[in-house]
């Protein structure tokens, strides 16, 4: 009899846990719905297929970088070099192609370079024990310099048809860049949530020493995350160049901040060890939808800064209040049970 009650309690506890996790992202989802309703009511074209595709295209590069940041920030790392690296990669690939190196080898060379940058970042963090924030600030400066240097500061036009096609091609109405992002979200979301590698990222972010003592290899995992980020920036930069029809050394400034903001909005914490890919997806959607909407409904440009800040603050505050409430409820429940 007693055993049965315990069982039941256990179950209802489980239920409440499941509900809580499902509800984890309630605020974000709510905000997205509100944003869509609001902007659509002002301009009905906001909720059109074209706009949603636009929105996804605009999100495609920052989305890839956000995947990298989701991994890195959960692992209690960070990366400020993606903007420079994406610009460098796009410029390099355009340059190689313009030197009549075929498209595929150009891509491979570019990706190899991008991966090397990731390795370099990892080495600074792992070997010289630099804080990732400052280490990747170094890379940011150096790579931006190299992006300008290799093309003498001038955008490199792309005329290779295969390269241009990459920027234009669609499959089921959806551009390649968006497909890449969607597939990456699914694959890396799965890896993060369900695999040993994914879980080890949470472990080293939660407590690097504990993870090491349990037999994990934090340095290796951190290296993989940085190299992944390098590759995402490389791929994203190449596709971006294809979309713009030129490799642009000055492009993608602040890319990393847009990505980090989305990731944090999605519930990843700078202290490491918490967060999900689903949250990042919602964060990206919210920010992109909001940004596009502001232009569409013609909010004066200066007010857009304010609106963006206010949205971020509002979403984070609501999330905090919801969590506080849940905590209080759980507490009250456990006091009653005691």
């Amino acid at each position: 009899m007693n055993e049965a009650t315990k069982e039941k309690e256990g179950k209802s506890f489980l239920h409440s846990m499941v509900r809580a996790v499902g509800g984890e992202k309630l605020v974000l989802m709510g905000a997205i719905v509100v944003v869509f309703i609001l902007f659509s009511s002002i301009n009905k074209n906001f909720f059109s297929l074209t706009n949603i595709i636009n929105l996804l295209v605009a999100a495609s590069l920052v989305g890839l970088v956000a995947i990298g940041h989701t991994y890195l920030i959960i692992a209690a790392q960070n990366d400020l070099s993606p903007g420079s690296l994406a610009a460098f990669s796009g410029t390099l690939c355009a340059l190689l192609v313009s030197l009549h190196i075929p498209f595929l080898p150009s891509i491979l060379i570019t990706l190899a370079a991008a991966a090397m940058v990731g390795l370099f970042n990892a080495a600074m963090v792992n070997k010289i024990k630099l804080d990732p924030f400052i280490a990747t600030l170094v890379t940011q400066a150096i790579l931006r310099g190299f992006a300008y240097i290799i093309c003498d500061g001038k955008p490199v036009p792309i005329s290779d048809p295969a390269f241009l096609y990459l920027g234009k091609a669609r499959f089921l109405q959806i551009p390649v860049s968006v497909w890449i992002m969607i597939i990456a979200f699914v694959v890396f979301g799965f890896i993060l949530a369900k695999t040993k590698f994914g879980r080890s990222i949470y472990a080293i972010g939660g407590n690097k020493d504990a993870a090491r003592l349990a037999g994990l290899n934090p340095q290796k995992i951190i290296t993989i995350c940085f190299v992944m980020m390098g590759l995402f920036c490389g791929i994203g930069g190449i596709v971006f160049a294809a979309r713009m029809n030129s490799g642009q050394p000055a492009a993608n400034i602040n890319l990393e901040f847009d990505a980090i903001t989305a990731v944090i909005l999605g519930g990843v914490s700078f202290t490491g060890g918490v967060g999900t890919m689903g949250g990042t997806v919602l964060g990206i959607i919210l920010i992109q939808a909001f940004n596009t909407g502001l232009i569409m409904v013609n909010v004066p440009s200066f007010w857009q800064y304010v609106a963006r800040g206010a949205l971020l603050l509002f979403a984070l505050t609501s999330d905090y209040l919801r969590k506080e409430k849940r905590r209080k409820n759980l507490l009250a429940a456990s006091m009653k049970n005691a």
Binding site: T195, K196, G198, G206, L213, A214, G215, G273, M335
Partner: protein, 517 residues
Amino acid sequence: MEFSKSEPAKEDEQLGSTLEFKNISKYFPGVVALDDICFQAHSGEVLAFLGENGAGKSTLLKVLNGDYQPDKGQYLLDGVEKHFRTPHEAIEEGISVIYQERQILMELSVAENIYLGRMPANKMGVINIRQANKMAQKIISDFGLPISPQTKVKDLSIAYQQMVEIMKAYSRENLKVICFDEPTASLSDSEIQCLFDIIRKLKREDKIIIYVSHRMDELREITDKTAVFKDGRYVTTVANGEVSEKELIKMMVGRDLGDVYKNLDRDKTIGDVLLEVKNVSSDYVKENSFQLRRGEVLGFSGLVGAGRTELMRAIIGADHMRTGEVFLEGKKILNRSPKDAMDNGIVLVPEDRKMQGILANLSVKGNINISMLDQNSNQFGIMDPGKEEKTAAQGIQEFRIKTPSPDKKILELSGGNQQKCIVARWIATNPKVLILDEPTKGIDVGAKSEFYSMICAFAKQGLGVILISSELPEVIGLSDRIIIMKSLKIVGEVSHAEATEDRILSMSMIGGDNIHE
């Protein structure tokens, strides 16, 4: 990959294994942590490490599991020389060490912590979480604990977190050597008993078991032999019963302590009511009332999770006090924060040294002085370095803190010495009411006995002392009166004269004889 415990165990049964340390030395800047250590440990017996704080016990274990590299010497497992460069390599060879400081991942579930780094997964690395939960549940049942494998570790009490640590080490396949570094520092009796059952089981399975503790009664109960360390040197190994406890202590401390509780100067007068707590509750604890008199040492006992810590936190304003009143010397006071409490003369030495005690990155001096900012500065708020030096020096001397310099980072001290710094911090403030939450956690016997005399001396000066301790002999030995808590409420009280371990235990479990009789 298969995760069954029985298979590797069979291998071990074939022959007894030995662990041999040969001339191991390990240095830190300004410190000789290990000096030419030579001895052996054998399977099928529980070997205790005994030594003062900073004697090098933890360091030796860290050398053993590849966390540190020895500067000289080597160790052999079954006659084979081993050089582990990482804990991972040690684990692969069947060596598990449970650290003195919890090494746990708060945001992960119990099952994920237990199987950290070796979650059951398919060839692609995809985790089978249900299997992990099932396996974890089995281990939890082996231990007889009422926790679920899916619970996040941060929602567990410290004691259960510690048990998860132990389960993590225990659950490793291919286990040959298991070392416990003060595993019971945050456990209460029932968990300790279940830990001992596990250790006995491991012993039957013919593992090499190393057990570090400062609690002599535990060593008596669970260990077979004791290796004694002093100042980084190995002294000797004695079998239980071979020498008396007194002599053992003399070997490690270098002097005779006698019966620490009997020798205390308990001759003091208990005065009028100093602190009165009326119906205090918080988000974490139900309404409770009690009184503390001048010159009194008031013990608090209870099982883990009884709410002792939480009650004290509410009193000093560390948690929001929902209901109730606190009177000090008959005057009503309101502590909105620990600072208010401190200004009123009430201080709390917290139980969780790592999270709530030490200021990481700061020196020993900085740590001891942090509650003394007012006393160590002039009216313009400018610090007097001389006073700071003095407070630090006094703390280091009084508590015999082993550190090469007051400027050493506190994180580089041994666990027990860190604890001494934390206690020294609050003692330095000269409070009226001193609340001690598990203050002797990890402190060696010699220092403990000095600390006990210090508590009695405080009481004699007319202070009130509240002592929360899970070590029953300590509460009984020191307290003039003992309050027992259960399920977030005070359920009873016994005087020093009528206190016995059995009585307190039964009150903590059933809910207090005073009430039900």
